[in-house]
Symmetry: C2
Subunit: 367 residues, 2 copies
Amino acid sequence: MFTFSLPTKIIAGPNCIKENAKEIRSLGKKSFIVTGKNSASHNGSLFDVQAALEAENISAILFDQITSNPSINLVRKAAQTAREEKIDFIIGIGGGSPLDAAKAIAVLATNDLDDEALFSGPYAHPFLPVAAVPTTAGTGSEVTQYSILTNQHLETKTSIAHPGLFPKVAFLDARYTLNLPKLITIHTAIDALSHALEGYLSVKATDFSNLFAEKSLALLGECLPQLSADLAFRVREKLLYASMLAGVVIAHTGTTAVHSIGYSLTYFKEIDHGRANGLLLAEYLRFLAPSYNDKIQAILDLLQLKDISEFSDLMHRLLGKKEEITAAEVMQFSSKAAQAANLKNTLIKPTEQDIAALLQKSLTFLS
Amino acid sequence: MFTFSLPTKIIAGPNCIKENAKEIRSLGKKSFIVTGKNSASHNGSLFDVQAALEAENISAILFDQITSNPSINLVRKAAQTAREEKIDFIIGIGGGSPLDAAKAIAVLATNDLDDEALFSGPYAHPFLPVAAVPTTAGTGSEVTQYSILTNQHLETKTSIAHPGLFPKVAFLDARYTLNLPKLITIHTAIDALSHALEGYLSVKATDFSNLFAEKSLALLGECLPQLSADLAFRVREKLLYASMLAGVVIAHTGTTAVHSIGYSLTYFKEIDHGRANGLLLAEYLRFLAPSYNDKIQAILDLLQLKDISEFSDLMHRLLGKKEEITAAEVMQFSSKAAQAANLKNTLIKPTEQDIAALLQKSLTFLS
């Protein structure tokens, strides 16, 4: 038994926005561009989007104040502007933060919701349509129904999940990722790896979601060992493709314990999201290996790695020195993660003690 | 550069219709069931659909007069009833013929079109939504934007192709295929094979469409040698899954010369559609092999076959005695096929002479 739904039209290739400007036309006449402060101008994506909008006679309001791990208040502020300007649709440009912010703004632009109802619904009105332009290869948000925000009430990151959040169209142009700093390339690629790997090991995995996970893992297996060097355009394209495929995976399987635990590392220790996952992945595989050796060997084979030690070495080579974690932090984070909703997708639901052990082994533990 | 769009929500598994009746609710309150005379009652699909509609308080008009290779006039007749009854949406149940008819009825129920405009558009009004319940594993129509009808004006089968024709939801329950006669199982499986294989060899093939084609070919490679025996449910599920994947492929790549040529065999000689393709496939591979050996070897590897001879033997074992074809028929059919629109998707566009040679070699030629 499986269900598969991918309402997002995916358009990929160099110059795909300008060559497919008409795809945006059906979304409306007045757009709201949601992005971060600088990167969209530097990598050329903002210019391409603006040119496409102009070609189609679509007006645009620019909101370029999205920060990493956007807060509820930030998206409220943007949604207020969107309402005042009576916009028809939203274009998110950037990494996971602007894309997830764009989706949350699409919810709040048409719905009056307090902070709790923002995540839980019910949603009285259809959301505004969203077009997504990823400029990192990691989030997969361009093909998911999730918007993940920093939730100061719960002291973690929490998700809005709703079929109405699938972008109507995603434009994948790897040119925008060409000049990403090495560290961002690594962290985002590991985020994609984490999606494909967790999706493959999710209780919700199906033959069909595995088709995408396996392809994503195979592509990442080719790319990961090269990430510390300068990357050819062909590698950038593979990473963006792999990241999208991994997004399709988690759209169907959800994420698992790695994300549940990683959110605390990001919220409290400001460790980048992809990096946080990457720190945890090897011990996560070791945790599941005694019961799910076949699945884990399949993942390692796809990644062209011999065993979990080789996997661990690769992560270490890419991530460098691990962050420190104190006993108090371990206690705090494991208690927090034990309440996370996506924990239930894990093949073996870890106890609070399991999570504590995993954190201790994954970071540099200051006992 | 690629574009991927799969607006159909796919729900698969035993009992998936009854367990997901709410998915139909959003399509409207009054339905039009389009199916053939007997099979939908015999295989249980009609009963399940009616039970799901009843559970959701949706009324239904039954149109069970769809024949093989439905004509324009037949779908006009059904569309007339649909209009008079002011229905909200259509449920197609059956093999390719009822599903394609359901889609054409969805066009004609809201648009006044003469026979030519039915295929070419423009279409002034949105089509009615369609839900699809395949009861053979071959057509893939449940996940495509095509409706293929017998066109007596052009003396061939022609397609309506429009994004509005993707079914909103497809229910894949292999139980309905359990008691299919052996010959239908074989012909429809070879139709799926033809889709996956032609899609893989289409000029429009992309990495992404190949992901689906490769998986479909691998599954068919496991199933095809067993088709002459009684099939376990697990094999029936694989066939239905492979057929859907192959449908996703042709939704993106179109079909190629095999379909162009096969349509004449069906129109003039009443050879079943899947069978017609199957007769042609081996010679089609031989035609392309000198220039595209790597791609063809990849297909053969996925099918677990050594070379084209083994492929040809497998087709012969499944299809039995080949039909005869006269010199006059070869001339007529190759002239017809040379005008077909999907010919241009072929890696090497065959000339009329190429097509004539392919037909002579593929059937029993009466010179």
